[in-house]
Amino acid sequence: MDTPLCLSFDGGTLLLSGGETRNLAELPGVRFDPRSNTQRAEGRHYRAIVERLRQQRIAYRDEARAYQPSAWKLQSAREPFPHQTEGLETWWQTGGRGVVVLPTGTGKTFLAVLAIERAARPALVVTPTIDLLNQWYAELTAAFGPPVGLLGGGYYDLQPLTVTTYDSAYIHLERWGNRFGLLVFDECHHLPGPTYALSAIGSIAPYRLGLTATPERADAQEVQLPELIGPIVYRREIRQLAGEFLAEYRTQRLYVDLAPEEQERYQRARDHYRGFVEQRGISMGGAHGWQRFIQETSRSAEGRAAFQAFREQKRLALAAPAKLHQLEHLLELHRVDRVLIFTYDNATVYEIARRFLVPAITHQTKAKERRQILERFHAGDYQILVTSQVLNEGVDVPAASVGIILSGTGSVREHVQRLGRLLRKYGAKQALLYEIVTRDTAEEFTSERRRQHHAYR
């Protein structure tokens, strides 16, 4: 044996040099790389490799790990809910690797803060959107004090405690892959898939925590989660927690009618697009239905016209001016309540903001202004806030007692999480969720689909 075994990090992989080749090939995940004439493994095998080396008492030099354990100190003590304590302990006893499934609005963020403190390692939090990035940034700064790093949304600042997005984590993997001991994947059902998964594959972090309300994916790719993060270690449904601290809530559906002329245009466009779909034998609700529709419509002038018709009928059903009238009415009715308005697209958000002179949050809202708006909303200086789907997932909007959904798509996940934000206790007040639906349009079915989720029962 000439030189001792050395581990180093190379763009999401571990390079193993020196040592006895015979031993190296037997290590978990290690493979010979003819390109660089070295032994190489994906970053995620770091923990298993190190554990094996220690177990077999093989000496090695670790040039891969570019971080040191780090004792985080919580700035303020807060009593965790029982499900947060249980979730944390179970995760830690499972080796600090695994997924915790909790409904939105039940304090996943605080659980992650506790996990960061427990793991005592530099930690990277990965989120799906810029809004969540901002939200986590604020939460972590409050919990541990500055500095908290940001990677994404125009920022490139790596700190021992950093928040990033799935996109930025994937793009910059080479630069952060060996600098964190704990990865927190927020809304971790986004992780499986050929691109985002690389963040988990290329990182050496021994500790991993996944958080989600809905691990199940339409494509069943959640089977990858155990490999990428760890198994589901803890799970509670909304009904198991409702008694614990969630407010009671009620939903109410309101119908509006399209103007006769709009109704006619809607029907014409819908017939056009349905005709095309049926003629081609595409099942829009079936597996790959949407994909096939996109393929078929991009092939011919006829297809492109059908696609335009599809967009037209969707636009008519979603953006019915009657909904804005109904909204105006609800705002009158609830003028002493804290009202959160959700709507499907940014154009409608800004239309509402201009028309009712109420603050708006979309993906274009900068971190500082966003924080200011949310603080004022929380304090009651602003009673009304309008937002598009960028707030869909997990963003902690404080103290709203009335929600109004103006339009939306019908996925169960989206809706549970939207609803979750209204479930916060606000004095003794019962939360109320309105859903404004256009009558006699496909949107009615979407709404029906939402109601099938048990969050509505």
Binding site: D10, R40, E42, Y170, Q252, H325, E328, L331, E332, L432
Partner: protein
């Protein structure tokens, strides 16, 4: 670069063939000229207005992909900024606060319906008490900023992307735009690639150094081999490619393309995962496709001193032949490309000569360090005094060293070469 939606390709079996434009075809000239006119005249207009004008001009029809693609390339040359008298955030804060105050005042004085009866009267604002006066709020805020209510409304969201104004457009002529389009199209295809393989012929050492610099800059993993006389093959992907075919390096490979396009004679083969199903496809590109690089052809300059040295060497030295053809020698996890091969005519033995004359000092020092660590066989090193390399920096190099002032001296180089051959390695002082 073009986005996935703007890519125009044909399929033949497993091959992807981009539909390049013929820069000579006048039809595209007209289209490009019309688009250029829009951008040249767009100074001060908002992104939204510009998009609206383009939509009217070319529509949103996928049949107009070329136009949309050209427009995208032109948009990439634009700079937009927020133009507003009063900062939009300030205006918003004032308007929303005033509106909230106005609403609260009504909330206290006006009748409040019970919220938990579930009874919502039909939407009919006309029959409701007039409660929130939007115009009054705007009027009040306008007065404090010395603006008109209309200006307040207009400036409220002036910082939105669609409201930003064009402040600079980097002009380009029609021919170059069409050439850029073709490169952008090939790059957009490469975004889907998992690895590429490039065969390169008849290029000088400077070209390989340039390519290897680009490999390093884009953090790619490169395997390089001689596959024939004057012919080399580069195989490029990234560290994680060993474990699965990933498109992670697609962007880096696409950005590497302009470096390849600088070669006179090349064949590129890319392995792709195409479409939402990620079907394996291949893409071929050669110099005959006529793509023109927009990358600067840097580092290709051959100093006149080196040319003079070569000429003098040929004139004076009979026993050795000096060759400028490229050798790629493995060096650690990379390669180096010596400037010359000296061939001993009697025995056919080869000695490599590296000339450190006109390097940046830092790169020269890095290069020496790597040579010291990894060079597999002795070579000759000619070092210019202008570089101010310390003797200590040359210690321990497996090389015969020749220090020179103006240009390397052929006699001296040959003496060292012969020393190397006879095994009497000496270090020049």
């Amino acid at each position: 670069m073009l986005t996935g939606k703007l890519v125009r390709v044909r399929y033949s079996r497993d091959r992807i063939r981009p539909c390049y434009l013929d820069p000579a075809e006048s039809g595209w000239h007209g289209a490009a000229e019309r688009l250029l006119d829009v951008y040249r005249a767009a100074d001060g207009r908002s992104r939204g207005e510009l998009e609206e004008e383009l939509r009217e001009m070319i529509g949103n029809d996928p049949a107009q992909l070329v136009h949309l693609g050209l427009a995208k390339l032109l948009e990439d040359r634009c700079e937009f900024e927020v133009v507003a008298g009063v900062a939009p955030e300030t205006l918003r804060e004032a308007v929303f606060s005033a509106a909230a105050t106005a609403r609260r005042a009504v909330g206290v004085s006006g009748p409040v319906p019970a919220m938990d009866t579930g009874q919502v009267p039909p939407a009919n604002p006309g029959h409701l008490p007039l409660t929130f006066d939007r115009a009054a709020v705007l009027q009040d805020v306008a007065a404090t900023f010395d603006l008109t209510p209309a200006a307040v409304q207009q400036g409220l969201f002036a910082d939105l992307k669609s409201e930003q104004r064009l402040v600079r457009f980097k002009d380009i002529n029609v021919e170059r735009l069409l050439l850029r389009y073709n490169v952008a199209l090939a790059q957009a295809v490469l975004l889907r690639s998992t690895r590429i393989q490039v065969t390169i012929r008849h290029e000088p050492p400077q070209r390989y150094r340039q390519l290897l610099r680009a490999v390093k800059f884009h953090r790619l993993v490169c395997e390089l081999s001689r596959t024939g006389p004057e012919t080399c093959e580069l195989r490029l992907d990234g560290p994680l490619s060993l474990f699965s075919a990933t498109q992670k390096y697609g962007l880096q490979l696409a950005l590497f393309l302009p470096a390849v396009l600088l070669c006179k004679d090349f064949e590129l083969r890319a392995e792709l995962l195409w479409g939402p199903q990620r079907k394996p496809k291949t893409f071929f590109l050669t110099h005959e496709d006529g793509l023109v690089s927009h990358a600067g052809d840097t580092g290709m300059y051959v100093p006149v001193e080196l040319t003079m040295f070569t000429e003098l060497f040929r004139k004076k030295i009979a026993a050795w032949e000096i060759r400028e053809e490229t050798e790629l020698l493995p060096l650690g996890d990379g390669f180096w490309v010596p400037d010359f091969s000296l061939v001993h005519r009697a025995t056919g033995e080869v000695v490599y000569l590296e000339v450190l004359g006109f390097w940046r000092r830092a790169s020269a020092e890095r290069h020496l360090e790597r040579l010291r660590k990894y060079a597999e066989r002795p070579f000759l090193l000619a070092v210019s005094d202008q570089l101010h390399v310390e003797d200590a920096a040359l210690d321990g190099l497996p090389a015969g060293i020749h220090r020179f002032r103006q240009m390397p001296l052929p006699d001296e180089v040959v003496r060292l070469a012969e020393d190397l051959l006879s095994g009497k390695q000496q270090h020049s002082e």
